[in-house]
């Protein structure tokens, strides 16, 4: 394989046959433009930024001046803008259409939120400015924290965790600190087998041993198996509720009671809080800690993989162990409680999890989203999300196997399996078929408790007409899968790329660009 079979380079032309598949000189297809890597592009002036001349001084770099080139190409502004604009057009996005990625919650990202986050008073302030000069920022953090505490019915909130998994870590460290404080170090965390992979990984990262709890035939935690395992070595359980099958755990209160009775604590993965926000307060379910993905429930943009934000709400029992720093209000004054001031009142805090105070840029966006909806609107948000998912479930259960549909309504997402697919076709083939229909596929092969699982989360962002069109498309592809239509194996055929070889990528990892000579030398 040549190193660059499709990316256009200035030395290319039709003569070398690169355009053979498209029949065009360039390899482009009208608005679908092939784009080389920046490392393969003409250098021109080598930069797109003008600088004032530096004052002449004698350098004081201790003899450490760079003496080798870095190898980073620079583009003029018009070249650069085209490069990234062309790349952007190879992405699917919520702005383009329904994005039914289960458990990921791809809802509309209001542009007001972007505007607020870019107000200089939020975007252009330094984390170490004296607190008198950032009172408005601290007030916003305190206001958002107040909403999160009230909406969850919990006692306090830690705002600094950077994303969901970091929030999980925050919750588990608080649990460890609390148990150690009472002289009761325990070493096991129980995690249901349907849990997101971050749960067991986080427990291990926090120094715990992980044991799995099975699901019952209704897609819920097997409470008898859980109770049987609640011995004195169990520090706590991590339960996702609503769970990753898109179902509410009806025994949640009994689970919390049993765990507490056995001396453990309850961590709730709040990834699916969007299904119940404004209707159910996790604090009423006996939970001790829960993270909230602001990038899911409160619509801060996913940005192609982050940044996220994962504040953690705590019960009374865990509040004293919450991490530093946090914002405290005294009358009209807001102060940042850091290491030096924590001594007197917050001596049990387990410490700092990140350099500064958390994801301010996500706080501003989430706050704008929350204020826009208000208490009444948030209740409508969860209602519409759950209504949309149930509508989808009932419109599709005759054509796709829905293993838990008989047990009652789902929450914000509907789960299907690959049962009944013909001709050796799989969930992956169906997903790639959906791409050709103009949709991003659902979450595939997760949760692990269902064979070939497909987790579909429409969110409250979709209108009935949009849902009906998606249902039509999914029905059509599902019928092809059941009929064993082998053309699905070749899907997608209309995307910017055909099916990509992930095995090849992992077998011979190429993680950075190598100049052709360099690459040849390596082989």
């Amino acid at each position: 394989m040549s190193k660059n079979p499709s990316g256009w380079r200035p030395d290319m032309g039709a003569a070398n046959g690169e355009g053979a598949q498209t029949g065009t000189f360039t390899g482009n297809r009208a608005l679908m433009l092939e784009e080389p890597l920046i490392f393969e592009m003409e250098e021109g002036g080598g930069t797109g930024v003008d600088f004032a001349e530096a004052p002449s001084v004698e350098s004081r770099l201790g003899g450490l001046e760079r003496n080798r080139p870095i190898g980073i190409p620079g583009l003029s502004e018009p070249q650069m803008v085209r490069h990234y604009t062309r790349l952007s057009r190879q992405n699917y996005a919520i702005d383009l259409g329904l994005f039914p990625l289960g458990s990921c919650t791809m809802k509309h990202n209001p542009r007001l939120n972007e505007k607020v986050a870019r107000m200089p008073g939020f975007a252009d302030i330094h984390p170490l400015q004296p607190s008198d000069t950032v009172q408005g920022a601290l007030a916003l953090i305190e206001m958002l924290g107040g909403w999160l505490v009230t909406l969850t019915g919990m006692n306090s909130v830690a705002m600094s965790p950077k994303a969901g998994a970091h929030g999980e870590l925050c919750g588990l460290l608080a649990i460890r600190a609390a148990l150690e404080a009472r002289g009761d170090a325990r070493e096991v965390i129980l995690v249901p087998e349907s849990a997101h992979g971050t749960n067991p990984a986080t427990a291990a990262f926090a120094g715990y041993r992980v044991e799995s709890i099975p699901a019952n035939e209704r897609g819920r935690v097997d409470i008898d198996a859980l109770k049987a395992r609640l011995r004195p070595d169990v520090a706590g359980v991590m339960i996702t509720n609503p769970n990753t099958c898109g179902l509410f755990e009806p025994d949640m209160l009994a689970i919390s009671e049993a765990v507490h009775a056995a001396g453990g604590l309850v961590y709730c993965d709040g990834a699916n809080f969007n299904a119940i926000v404004g209707r159910v307060r996790p604090g009423d379910l006996g939970i001790d800690a829960m993270h909230i993905n602001l990038h899911k429930t409160f619509s801060t943009p996913h940005g192609g993989g982050g940044p996220g934000s994962g504040p953690v709400v705590f019960s009374d029992a865990l509040t004293p162990f919450a991490p530093l720093p946090f914002v405290e209000r005294k009358g009209d004054q807001f102060t940042l409680v850091e290491e030096e001031t924590a001594g007197e009142h917050h001596g049990s805090s387990f410490g700092r999890m990140t350099a500064f105070h958390g994801q301010m840029g996500m706080f501003t966006r989430a706050m704008a989203y929350i204020l826009s909806h208000g208490a009444d609107g948030l209740r409508q948000v969860s209602g519409d999300a759950v209504l949309n998912a149930n509508y989808l479930l009932r419109q599709l259960e005759d054509v796709l196997d829905a293993p838990f549909a008989a047990s009652g309504p789902c929450m914000h997402e509907a789960l299907f399996s690959d049962k009944g697919f013909g001709g050796g076709l799989t969930t992956l083939d169906l997903a790639k078929g959906l791409i050709d229909e103009g949709y991003h596929p659902m979450t595939m092969y997760f949760p692990l408790v269902v064979h070939g699982s497909m987790l579909v989360e429409p969110t409250e962002t979709e209108s009935k007409a949009a849902l009906d069109q998606f249902i039509g498309a999914l029905r059509s592809v599902a019928e092809r899968a059941k009929a064993g239509d082998q053309s699905l194996k070749a899907a997608p055929v209309h995307a910017p790329r055909r099916r990509l070889d992930e095995t090849l990528a992992a077998r011979k990892p190429v993680l950075v660009y190598r100049d052709p000579e360099q690459a040849q030398a390596a082989e």
Binding site: G71, L75, N91, E114, G197, H302, G304, T354, V510, L511
Partner: protein, 460 residues
């Protein structure tokens, strides 16, 4: 409500199709005692776009904006000029509102940008490979320590006194629970090489050491050659982890990778991201190729599609939590994708030529400012070799001076009292960062206000 497209008639039709009488019917699995019959009490109802903008705008206006005053803060977050095109491009919906590229055929935009980002970071750091980003520099630093433990199967990390105290704090928090041992020290205001504890680090390396962790430039702005440290660490079977909080410096000074660092991590905020009161930022993570399967976080790799065309996918995911669960190299899932994109766009606009010019401008302005401030009565420059950040020793405690300067409209630096509360020996230290955004007038304003506050006995 402007973000909710369902009309009441749609809701009724959908409920009929489901066979439910109301939305409340769909929540039957929730125990009755935990189901609220109405909205959550004590919270406001929905608001218009204009009202929300006004309410939050009022809070924004209560803050002193860096770009509106003479501004000299650094210590892990730097104010640089970000070209307008960067923010414009990251707001394209196809980048902003896309997800982690799990379906590569319709995510080549994000994936190619990540591949370019990884290459830029690896080359900037002087390493073979880089990942697709971490949360921030401080968490990347801890992940590097954990990675070194996995590679060396040893549990003692020696941390330089010049490592950002918040990064040290994060490591201490985690080490308390994981059992890792950390060898720590406080920095000293040693004339010409503040915060440099090379001798202590060299002496601290032994057969149990997993890694030596050193920041470059360090928390007090000092730069030192890491080559000897790398050699001595390698002789003892340990790794050298270098931490870079100001990536612009690497436009002018040698990369840690060139000097032998095995893992280089850091904060990428300075390029493309902005101050944002501390987040979101972007953690950079790079290492030698032989350690790639021990890396945390997502990796983008090159491959081919069914027609043989080049394309990109997320790869080596058997290291990650969604496959390996409790045996994963890290628990990280969401990273800092959009900030990584901003970093990469800004870097593409700069190029090597622009980055070098930017770095030269920073260094020249910092040298000039250091000399000017050293002339202020009661101020001593303790830094010898530095990039764009240096340390002053004031004739009195620096923290109240910083507050008093802020009252006069100058954000004059970070006091060491803020970073090392209660450490008497550091209380008079002031760290001053000077970037291309600083003008001669700003430096004069700082010199004047600093002198006033020192003479008058600031805040006292």
């Amino acid at each position: 409500m402007r973000y909710l497209p369902l009309a009441e008639a749609d809701r009724q039709a959908m409920l009929r199709a489901i066979g439910a009488t109301s939305v409340e019917d769909l929540f039957v699995d929730v125990p009755e005692s935990a189901r609220l019959s109405g909205k959550v009490e004590g919270l406001a109802d929905h608001a218009t776009e204009m009202a929300v903008e006004r309410q939050l705008g009022a809070l924004a206006r209560q803050n002193l904006v860096a770009g509106e005053v003479p501004f000299f803060l650094g210590c892990g977050a730097y104010k640089h000029h970000i070209p307008s095109s960067v923010d414009h491009l990251i707001q394209r919906g196809e980048f902003l509102t896309s997800y982690t590229p799990y379906q590569p055929e319709i995510a080549q935009g994000t994936l190619q940008a990540l591949f370019e980002f990884q290459t830029q970071v690896a080359r900037l750091y002087g390493c073979d490979v880089a990942n697709a980003s971490m949360y921030d520099g401080s968490t990347a630093c801890w992940e590097a320590i954990v990675m070194a433990r996995r590679i060396t199967k040893r549990g003692k990390a020696v941390l330089s006194a010049g490592l950002h105290p918040h990064y040290v704090s994060v490591a201490q928090t985690m080490a308390r629970f994981t059992g890792d041992r950390l060898d720590l020290a406080l920095p000293e205001l040693t004339p010409s090489a503040p915060g440099d504890d090379m001798e202590r680090l060299l002496a601290g390396i032994d057969g149990e050491t997993s890694a030596v962790v050193v920041q470059y430039p360090n928390i007090l702005g000092h730069v030192a050659d890491l080559s000897e440290l790398a050699e001595r660490a390698h002789e003892a079977g340990a790794l050298l982890i270098a931490v870079v909080t100001e990536p612009v410096a690497l436009g002018l000074i040698r990369s840690p990778g060139e000097m032998g660092a095995d893992i280089v991590v850091g904060e990428g905020q300075a390029i493309g991201v902005g101050l944002n009161f501390g987040g979101p930022y972007v953690g950079l993570f790079a290492c030698k190729e032989k350690f790639v399967r021990q890396m945390p976080g997502r990796l983008c790799g090159e491959t081919a599609d069914a027609d043989g065309n080049r394309g990109f996918v997320l790869t080596l995911s058997t290291r990650e939590q969604h496959i390996r669960r409790e045996k994963a190299t890290s628990n990280i899932c969401t990273n800092s994708g959009l900030c990584a994109l901003a970093f990469s766009i800004h870097m593409t606009l700069l190029g090597e030529k622009g980055l070098r010019q930017l770095a030269e401008l920073n260094h020249a302005k910092a040298v000039a400012a250091a000399d000017r401030l050293a002339d202020v009565p009661g101020v001593e420059l303790v830094s010898g070799a530095f990039f764009n950040e240096f340390t002053l020793r004031l004739s009195r405690e620096a923290r109240p001076v910083v507050r008093a300067m802020a009252d006069r409209g100058v954000l004059g630096g970070v006091s060491l009292g803020r970073l090392y509360p209660g450490v008497e020996a550091l209380a008079n230290g002031l760290v001053v960062a000077v970037t291309e955004t600083v003008t001669d007038e700003h430096v004069e304003a700082l010199a004047r206000v600093l002198e006033e506050c020192l003479v008058e006995g600031a805040g006292a």
